[in-house]
């Protein structure tokens, strides 16, 4: 009998149905939370925030293996675009958020040439570009972007609307990931991550495929940035271009298991609980512990939770399932 990997088992077994049911239940709880009351909606807002960020960075980090260190630029640009559209163009907030998302996509197109370089060069290039944008904003005229102080949109404050906006975005990211994972694009991306040369030989246009994943991945953080600005009603260069906005989503995706749907959700919701407790105790402690967690995850659990289960599973099943095909698909081992 040919052995099957955990991924295939998950696809068909009762566990899959159980997970689907759990997912539907979570969506229902999140949908009715503000109406029913009794739940901390601000907590749920940021839980959705990080799940959505982790899932959207996973679209490029998990499926292509490229590490976008400058990911925070998209949050910042989306946030600034939203605030500026609201203040200067007097758009309604929903429209302003979409303008922010559009700016994120434009910035994504500008970042596309960076895919010519790989590995650490890509990571550092995006990081430097994001940092340059942050400094660039502090140099712009005060009346336009608020320069070093930032912008305020306090008259738009509406926690219920922002909650549902974040809810819609989170569901959209989940559906996008689900669609990508099942579609032939997802298969091609995974194949490309695991064996780029074989994919090239099969006549797949690698650059176009990668750009496709990238464009999916940059729209969401810009939208999320806009909604978060709507929620907190303030955006500043420091808050909008915070390194943690790149690092936490990458850490959450890596911790759960990159290149899967469940992994980033799992990673974000477990680590966010820890992070939230720390944040309220000591704001800088969040940086400290995020850094330590990143080191521990990279050094000790480089496969992520799901990957680790899969690996153990393969070990337990014995020699025939320890063949490369069963170990490879989930982390780009060459």
């Amino acid at each position: 009998m040919p052995s099957r990997s955990l991924r295939e088992e998950l696809g068909e077994s009762w566990l899959s149905r159980f997970l689907a049911a759990g997912g539907v239940a979570a969506v229902v709880v999140l949908a009715v939370a503000p109406v029913v009351g009794g739940l901390d909606t601000s907590y749920l807002f940021y839980l959705m925030f990080w799940v959505a960020m982790a899932l959207s960075v996973n679209l490029v980090f998990g499926y292509t293996g490229y590490i976008p260190f400058g990911y925070f630029a998209f949050y910042g640009v989306g946030a600034y675009g939203t605030a500026m559209a609201f203040i200067h163009l007097q758009l309604p907030m929903v429209g302003a958020v979409l303008v922010g998302g559009g700016l994120g996509v434009v910035l994504g197109v500008i970042f596309l040439p960076m895919f010519r370089v790989e590995g650490i060069y890509f990571a550092i290039a995006t990081f430097a570009a994001a940092w340059a944008i942050k400094i660039g904003i502090t140099l712009t005229p005060e009346g336009l972007t608020g320069a070093a102080t930032g912008l305020y949109v306090s008259q738009a404050y509406d926690p219920t609307a922002t909650y549902y906006a974040m809810f819609v975005v989170t569901v959209a990211v989940v559906l996008t990931t689900l669609w990508l994972d099942r579609s032939r694009y997802g298969t091609m991306l995974r194949a490309m991550r695991d064996d780029p040369i074989a994919v090239e030989m099969s006549g797949i246009n690698r650059a176009r495929l990668r750009s496709f994943a990238w464009m999916l991945s940059v729209f969401f953080p810009a939208i999320i940035g806009g909604i978060d600005t709507w929620n907190t009603t303030v955006i500043s260069p420091e808050g909008g271009f915070d390194v943690l906005l790149s690092i936490k989503p990458i850490l959450y995706a890596l911790f759960g298991g990159p290149g899967t749907l469940l992994g980033p959700i799992l990673g974000a919701s477990t680590l966010y609980v820890i992070d939230d407790i720390l944040w309220s105790a000591l704001p800088l402690g969040s940086y400290f512990v995020t850094g330590i967690m990143l080191m521990v995850v990279v050094l000790v659990f480089p496969r992520g939770i799901l990957g680790e289960f899969e690996y153990r599973e393969a070990l337990v099943r014995g020699a025939d399932s320890l063949s490369l095909e069963n170990l490879l698909p989930d982390r780009g081992e060459k």
């Binding site: 590995g119 650490i120 000591l282 800088l284």
Partner: protein, 304 residues
């Protein structure tokens, strides 16, 4: 005049950049480990220097006696804690970038928790021995700055001597060129790697000491800026090439200082990022690489 001043300042700061970049480059060249926390460790050394001065009146140069052994131990400890695991990873460079990015956040946050976000500085530590400033060719230089630059120059010379004349220096250069081949030569790669990590951290530590003499102030968050500058320089001068990093460092500082004559002061950090972006996009292998030299030589040999 302003231009001449910028060139002089550029050379002084360039020596510091050369030190930062060559030590970062040794770690990267020998182990393929991207030490993103390099700049943060430099700032940590500046803090140690600052507190030794503030609490015990120890002058910056004397504090090297404390900083150097401390950073050697940190380097060797970091090596044994992280590098063997990272070398086993599928993609050492990317994984080390993530792990050391984590470390960089930890070091910065630790310093901010312990000592706050305000900037610190050691104002003229040698004023009771030497005059406050020296006039050279119509330009005034703070004495501490000149002492710092002189020390940096001596250190760079020592590093070159070490790399070209001692057993460990030669082993380090051999490992930069071909890590696999050195194993066949009977070089203990683990030991050489650990020593080079320790040595690079000592250089980082001493750079942090000199930083307090060259720049009027430093703050806990400045580390990332130095790391990015160092990356720009080593990509510019060639990855894994300590001499390229030295030349690149001085070149970079000159560009930065001359640009600052014409640009607003706050715009200066952008230059580093733009140079970095330009170099990565145009010539990610660096301006001159070991491979270039090899192809040149083989071409020359086959023709002659």
């Amino acid at each position: 005049m302003a231009l001449l001043n910028a060139i002089a300042t550029g050379i002084i700061i360039g020596l510091i950049y050369a030190l930062i970049a060559s030590s970062l480059n040794i770690i990267f060249g020998v182990m393929r480990i991207v030490n993103f926390a390099h700049g943060n460790f430099i700032i940590l050394a500046s803090y140690v220097t600052f507190w030794l001065w503030e609490l015990y009146g120890v002058r910056p140069l004397s504090s090297v006696l404390v900083v150097a052994p401390m950073f050697f131990l940190i380097g060797v400890a970091l090596y044994y804690l992280t590098v063997p695991r990272l070398l086993n990873a599928d993609d050492t460079e990317s994984m080390s970038l993530l792990a050391y990015f984590g470390l960089s956040i930890v070091v910065t946050a630790g310093m901010r928790i312990a000592w706050g976000a305000q900037s610190r500085g050691i104002p003229s530590p040698y004023e009771d021995v030497f005059p406050l400033s020296v006039q050279v060719a119509g330009m005034r230089f703070a004495t501490a700055r000149l002492i710092g630059a002189g020390t940096a120059l001596v250190l760079l010379g020592l590093l070159l001597w070490f790399l070209y004349n001692t057993y460990y220096g030669k082993a380090i250069r051999a490992m930069i060129q071909n890590r696999e081949a050195t194993k066949f030569l009977g070089i203990k790669t683990h030991r050489v790697s650990a020593i080079s990590f320790g040595l690079a951290m000592v250089l980082a530590g001493v750079t942090g000491v000199l930083l307090t003499m060259i720049f009027p102030a430093f703050s806990a968050t400045a580390g990332e800026h130095y790391t990015l500058i160092a990356f720009a320089i080593i990509v510019l001068g060639g990855l894994g090439d300590p001499i390229g990093a030295m030349i690149g460092g001085v070149f970079f500082a000159l560009v930065e200082q001359i640009a600052m004559v014409y640009l607003p002061l706050t715009a200066s950090p952008i230059i580093a990022f733009l140079v970095l972006l330009a170099v990565i996009m145009v010539r990610p292998g660096g301006m001159f690489t070991v491979e270039d030299i090899r192809t040149l030589r083989s071409r020359y040999l086959s023709n002659g």
